[in-house]
């Protein structure tokens, strides 16, 4: 297990290293000049040169990459071109909002997806199954931002017009300040993030469970006189969990995209919002920092999933 784990961690670090390198050199070959952007449209060439020197952009590329790398290992991601704040600080400051959104989103996706998947699989061909299939197809087809806008329209606007105000349109209240308000502000965003992923899980659970329920050991369990609930949840679901866990790691990267869009729609000031703002003002260090942080999460998630996988399925450990 330790060998398995250390191998996964090393390959994760290599991936992060590769991504940081790709990002850095992509920005180096990019046609736009950050110094000119920062100095403003009316700046003279002298001023632009000054800015370039101040930011260390005049150094040879390999030296810049070295500074970037050594900084990275010390947890220093550089300073924002825009407001000169350390990149790491502004990322960490916005982390709670993004993390609240992501965690809730995953939970909504899993609960909704697994429930619908099991419901559909227990009675294949019935109206419950058809309803589940409709949910899956809608979920797979609707873009996250459309889902968010429609939720906002129906649950915020239409309800408010009808005189029932419960869901706020936007904003974020820290958990430490008021947990209830925190949840109330995040319900709609959670469902926005979770909806698309829930469809993927529902489809996966349904197809896997339907085929598992046709296995001989399920027949045996039933003929022992076990209750149907026990057969489904204990015997059936055990074999469905492994593919579901694998899917979580694949979805994590997609989920990140959902966060960016959802933050923008619901006015949540998280990392995704920061990334878009930074793109709009050409703030390279922040863009690179946000990318690296997101990649770090993806890598960590995939390692955690691999561990869970190894715990669920002993065959993986042996290999």
């Amino acid at each position: 297990m330790i060998r398995f784990l250390s191998r996964r961690i090393v390959s994760g670090i290599l991936t992060l290293f590769a991504i940081s390198g790709i990002m850095f050199f992509l920005f180096y070959v990019a046609p736009n000049d950050p110094a000119a952007t920062i100095a403003g449209p009316q700046a003279t060439n002298d001023q632009i040169d000054q800015v370039r020197e101040r930011l260390g952009l005049n150094l040879p590329v390999l030296e810049r990459y070295w500074i970037f790398l050594t900084g990275l290992f010390q947890g220093d991601l550089g300073y924002s071109f825009f407001n000169k704040e350390p990149v790491l600080d502004s990322l960490v400051r916005r982390l709670p909002e993004t993390a609240s959104l992501a965690l809730g989103g995953i939970i909504v996706a899993l609960v909704l997806g697994v429930t619908i998947g099991i419901g559909a699989a227990r009675k294949p061909g019935t109206w419950q199954d058809k309803l589940g299939t409709t949910f899956v197809l809608t979920g797979l087809s609707v873009p996250t931002f459309v889902a968010g806008l429609l939720l906002l329209y129906v649950f915020f606007y239409l309800l408010t017009v009808m005189g029932f105000t419960f869901f706020p349109a936007a904003g974020y209240v820290p958990f430490s300040k008021n947990p209830l308000e925190w949840a109330r502000h995040l319900i709609l965003p959670w469902f926005t993030v979770g909806f698309v992923a829930a469809a993927i899980y529902a489809r996966l659970v349904r197809s896997q469970l339907v085929s598992v329920m046709g296995e001989d050991y399920i027949r045996t369990a039933r003929s022992k006189g076990l209750r149907e609930n026990r057969v489904v949840y204990r015997h059936g679901m055990r074999n469905v969990l492994t593919p579901v866990v694998t899917q979580i790691s694949l979805d994590f990267a997609v989920l990140m995209g959902g966060l960016v869009v959802t933050e923008r729609i619901f006015g949540i000031n998280g990392i995704g919002r920061l990334a878009i703002d930074s793109v709009n003002r050409g703030d390279q260090p922040v863009i690179i920092g946000a990318m690296l942080l997101a990649s770090l999460f993806v890598v960590i998630a995939s390692i955690l999933v691999d561990i869970a996988y190894a715990m669920l399925d002993s065959r993986v450990r042996v290999k």
């Binding site: 809608t138 797979l140 087809s141 459309v146 606007y157 896997q208 990140m256 995209g257 793109v279 990318m291």
Partner: protein, 336 residues
Amino acid sequence: MMPESTLSSGTEADLDNDIPAKKGHPHKEIVARSPLQLVWTRLRQDPTAMVSAAVIVLVIISALAAPLIASWVGHGPDEQFRKEGLTPSGLPTGPSQEFPLGADNLGRDLFVRLIYGGQLSLIVAFVATVGALGIGTLVGMTAGFMRGKVDTVLTWLMDTTLSLPQLLFAISLVSLVGPSFGTTVIVIILFSWAPIARVVRGQTLSIREREFVEAARSLGASNWRIMRVDVLPNLIVPILVYGTLLIPQAIVFEATLSFLGLGVLPPTATWGNMLAAASTGSMYTVAWWMLVFPSAALLSVTLAFNLLGDSVRDALDPRQTLFARKRRIRKNGLAS
């Protein structure tokens, strides 16, 4: 996802069609149906597939006829009608005879813009899908056929691409070169080729062990020739299925980028930036049509493509969906 009952009734219907034909014309030659005809027969008996296809054809026709429709309505896609389309206080007017689906915040005709947006969506999706299929097939086939070190490197590339936070990476790429039509297409291709490459690689791995490949090699065929002549035709089915499922993904990707203001830029109409206009300043609270119609268009087109893709997959290989999965699981255990 076609219900199993539809398929079995489909085969019965086939038989029914055949028998009276033979009775009526005893001398009629029995002609073998080509695989394509079989697929077409199955698809025609699937109502979901036919409805989805009808929706798609409708959108394609309206996209092709966009200039005609615009001149018929008398409103250009980017033309602003501040007098007719906006109320005195500057708010857009709702659906009326003049503006069938209402006007937007700048007094432009939503109906005409919706059709032009559809045109753009289809073009972006089509170009990106063809590009992604081309690259994915080439990379996957090379990896599966060459094996060894080439395979290791290419597989690592696929896995890394798949594990990247796509949208974040996409927006940082857009920040490098600036948003435009070309950037959008390239970004979509960049994040769509890997799943195809993975599927193609898996198929190639098994195809290259078949006898006909060995025969071709013993005749002195080069690697490139074997890949082109012997392997590629056997990959058409998965490529076709993935292609139809890739189109809605590309449409969604384009719409998302445009919504964030990082795709195709206004004033060019896209469904994404039309929805962005509806969302900025909560415009949708005074003009529901700005939100509802583009959402409905986007949703129905992606839904139609997804449904059609599922049906095409079932029609191309009905056994795969019904029996093969179960058998495969029995044989190899769930891990496969």
